[in-house]
Symmetry: D2
Subunit: 363 residues, 4 copies
């Protein structure tokens, strides 16, 4: 496949350009018999939707999803689920600058080199708008994982530029525009973002995701270790430059006696592993973090080249997120859901009849 | 597939357990007409081979590779290349402790939970010995990439526990047991490792990889972005807990005007992107780093459970690497080679007849 | 994947139920830079469309296709092409009988057994309406193959029940409702079909496909031989019970000296092979035939069971094709196009830089 | 993948050339906990082994298989199973004629055109010797299917050249060199084959396969219908030119009222479907037949071209099967086993938790 599908058994294939007629996807392999309605998917889309605060792009998209197939009388049938969102706010405008020049740090240049042609309107296929379909498909996976296995998947912004953010109230994440789990820090974030916007610049961010109640056994050694699939899925999100599990890069300076999570019949003493051992889920929470770079579409002028390869300068106007990380939380959650769902099906394909006499330890 | 294959067009499938009869792999999709001999592969295997210094496991394995198919009169034929290394040093010993107890931080527990059975001898399939085949297959990819495209792939240890290491002489990497590119620091590393071994403990490490001369255009948006495939491949290496590209986690605290690599007809002004834009290689060097955790097989006692789920304590004796990161450099290089090779073939499958009028910028 | 995709590099994923909101597909991997409009696809859809004569189902569907992505300013961009056809004629009616009973010879029973639920309206996913998307996707492949390689793909009905049909005028195929290449026989066919319709019964058929100008080299030994991919693709069409290449089943009673196609610098002496040798195209025409069973939705009563497993009788009313084979010609052509396109991309991925000194023989 | 793998979840990857060092394969995805020894596999290999009668090639190969991984203390572990057979009888000889000339009807010419190079010794990768690994891998699948699901897979030669053969005693198949289930006809077959050998010619054959006790539900609509996967797998066997299920090509001249298999609580009235409805197994026996062409390696002279494209004549000497169909029965059985195993795992991946209230009908 040419890269627009993910998952071996719970397979999501997406299509659509930012300013084309519609965004869509096909979810193939969903188990039958699960209640599913457009409203179930819409709720997650709403969390990702832009234009809800001054800190994200003002593009107004209702992002209304239609289920085109795979559901009958309110239940999934096991056949592929087609989803569609018509693009509404494709504001007509002059694309002159990004039509002929390449934004430094943007996919403009590489799409042109790879394909010899690119849909420059709003970034075309490389637009963050593509992630609507990740969120929509992820909502289906998340519903199954929650209902059948009790798995919960929750993320938050753990760093915004220089501002590190902890968790004081996970319940607060969805009620502020920063996906911040420490609501006391929100005024600080607002001030930071307002200054940034005034500068015409953008900023990076870090997102952390936690999946709880994941049963042991998910993940396929050796190349499709659970952490490898998570890294693949998370690194495929626009603007992500790094992925880590558990202690992550901090493990470089840990000793073995310090890093290992000791075990007892009551569970693991701590969670530096981040939920996997040898590529297979251990029953600990999955803990993953990602680094997102600042968006390259900023109004500060930058040196670049044009389509003829000549030196020039570019200023990006238009509607852009000053921090793509701010809306990345539901996207990262969706990717984790897709990976866990796919690995759950893969695991039961091979191991459904395993009789295991070793007790599962739980804390 | 159950996870023992990687690559869509240049596909590597491995098999073998640490203390089974042999390690092997099949490399399918190699272009025909390339000169290939066992010696070409042996050279890379030699770099990974244990037992060459006191700082790695003393297990003695000649790691002699046989080419079983796919090569005729010294040239690849386009048919699958079978590779085999017989295991020689499967020292007979008492496995009592790891047979019935789970090492904390190790795959012992999760293999048992997933499969209900595990080959506990030397870690079985979860042993780092599996990486011989990654290196062997990677050597084939690396040869093609080097000869046909001029791509070079070079790695080094950029951090050992608390000791950060730069590059003063890349040529020195292969002549010291630490894959260190700053030879003046070697005494410091030796002292650190000697103390660690005396403690019976282990340590994490960071490896950095650079691929030069990569043409623009490799990588398949949206899910199989080049960085996503790299993250997948690198995170699938034993003990890896984090992957980053270019500025990586440092991008969190960068502004857009700072992160973006400005462009001119002479190339990119710098390389914070790490070689990809929007999932496609840009022509910049690919820069990737990985974090490796400390090995969990240490002689310091640790609390754990046994196969009946009862609380107990474990001490791992036997031959183990105190820093798995030390031998990970050729493995990481091999994984990068496999990813680039696969994406090169994928790219030319779809885009071989693209006529591109935009000049490639090069520095 | 759960079976709704075909092709490794030119990958088509379809969705949609007969009486759901829409039929759709995603075509991933299409090379960029090819002119493509909805009209190009519509022409092939028109050939498959029902309701054009009294010999096919009277269901009226305009089958108007929309291109939702992957095309910009009239050219393919290399990104996935989303196609959609809204279902229009989902006539509201009483499904009582097929809702609770299983038509013998139909997928009703097996869908129920596999998924525990089925969309019984018009056959749901098992409806021949699914093949609209095969034809739509195939039109894209066919256009590329024709324009870039000069490949032509043409089919015709070679047997209708007991009536064997030869080729006197391939140009006549599209101007009669039987896809018959021997126009003198049409009155005979009309009489046969009229009698059959009066009986309330259905009939099988044979379709033959010829692909000309296929270059040598397409096909991947050993499991993905070109003939194996063709067999897969053609046998996946609804109602197909047999596939053969070249001499096919007649080869059972051939001697080696009789079957082999002798070669000279001017080409092959004849074509019993059907265009492949050892799984790879030889440059001869690809010749494939398929056997289609009679449709099971007939008005003659049949013994069956109901959803509770009790014995009963069923009469299928409603709009059904008395000979599904009659509209299968464009579908079979589309499947051949998809296979050739996929194998063309696979071949050039591995072998684009082969320097071959052996001349291609052509007749 | 480049075509040397089959199966999505129970995945077999083979390698090896006729006169190279060894034949091998990797079986990935086998469920853990099944007893498996080399003897289990050897028994099926013995049935395929040449040199046991005067009617097959006199090449003497012990075909001794080694299990290199994936089995521990006599049980499968869920990790990949590596299998290896060293080639022993690579008789040193002069390959002059087939080195520089292309046998008409053989893969010689197409391998040369595709890859620009070919291992001409004994046919290289295109040799029927490759099928050892299909049989070896199939033996593992067959054991699982038999032990866990009670599935039996049995084949026989149903036609040899002009001689059609029925079933009077399936138990006799393995005790005669013709895989004939009608032992009274053996003298007739011997006479036919003796005359053929005297002529220096070869002949085609038909093999029929029956799989019993297959549960309903296997097969993935729409592209991976069970019959499509069977067609793929069977058509990938060397020399196969046609595949049919159930009534097969005879369905062309059946009416719907005649073809459909009526149902009752006691099962199906007959089996013209051949075991599948709409791509999914129905619980009826799977009935498949294949047509094999006569081998092209015969001693009768034939017109052909040489590597320079010049006209010439070829006589194939050496050890060749006069009827490749004669040893194809265990190979076809193996392919059916691989397909059923793969689809069983795929089915339970998606549908393991389906609660079905419709009774299974059985006869």
């Amino acid at each position: 496949m040419s890269g627009n599908s993910i998952g071996r058994l719970f397979t999501v294939t997406t299509f659509g350009e930012s300013h084309g007629p519609a965004m869509g996807c096909v979810v193939d392999g969903c188990p039958p018999g699960m209640a599913l309605s457009a409203a179930d998917i819409q709720a997650d889309l709403e969390r990702r939707r832009p234009g809800k605060s001054r800190h994200t792009t003002p593009r107004q998209e209702p992002d209304t999803v239609r289920i085109l197939s795979g559901v009958f009388e309110g239940l999934t049938t096991g056949t592929p689920i087609g989803l569609l969102i018509e693009n509404v706010d494709q504001r007509s405008r002059d694309y002159g600058d990004i039509k002929d020049k390449f934004r430094p740090g943007h996919a403009d240049y590489t799409y042109q080199q790879k394909y010899g042609i690119r849909d420059y309107r709003g970034g075309g296929r490389s637009s963050a708008r593509e992630t609507t379909m990740r969120v929509a498909a992820g909502a289906i996976a998340r519903k199954y994982l929650g209902e059948r296995l009790g798995i919960g998947i929750h993320g938050y912004v753990s760093q915004l530029g220089p501002i590190e953010l902890g968790v004081t109230d996970m319940g607060a994440v969805d009620s502020n525009p920063f996906f911040c789990a420490d609501p006391d820090r929100i005024p600080e974030l607002e001030k930071f973002m307002d200054e940034l916007r005034a500068e015409g610049d953008s900023i990076g961010a870090k997102i952390s995701i936690l999946a709880s109640n994941v049963p042991p056994g998910l993940g396929e050694p050796v190349f499709d270790k659970l952490e490898a699939s998570l890294a693949h899925a998370l690194m495929s999100i626009n603007a992500v430059k790094g992925v880590e599990l558990g202690a992550g890069f901090a493990a470089i300076n840990q000793k073995g006696s310090e890093h290992r999570d000791e075990m007892s019949p009551d569970g693991f003493a701590k969670n530096d592993a981040g939920g996997t051992l040898g590529g297979i889920s251990s029953g600990q929470d999955i803990l993953a973090s990602i680094a997102l770079k600042p968006t390259s579409s900023i109004s500060k002028p930058g040196a670049t080249v044009d389509k003829e390869g000549k030196t020039t300068e570019i200023v990006t106007t238009g509607r852009h997120d000053p921090c793509v990380g701010l809306r990345a939380t539901p996207i990262a959650e969706a990717m984790v859901a897709l990976v866990l769902m796919d690995h759950y099906l893969r695991h039961r394909a091979q191991n459904a009849d395993v009789e295991n006499t070793t007790p599962v330890i739980t804390g």
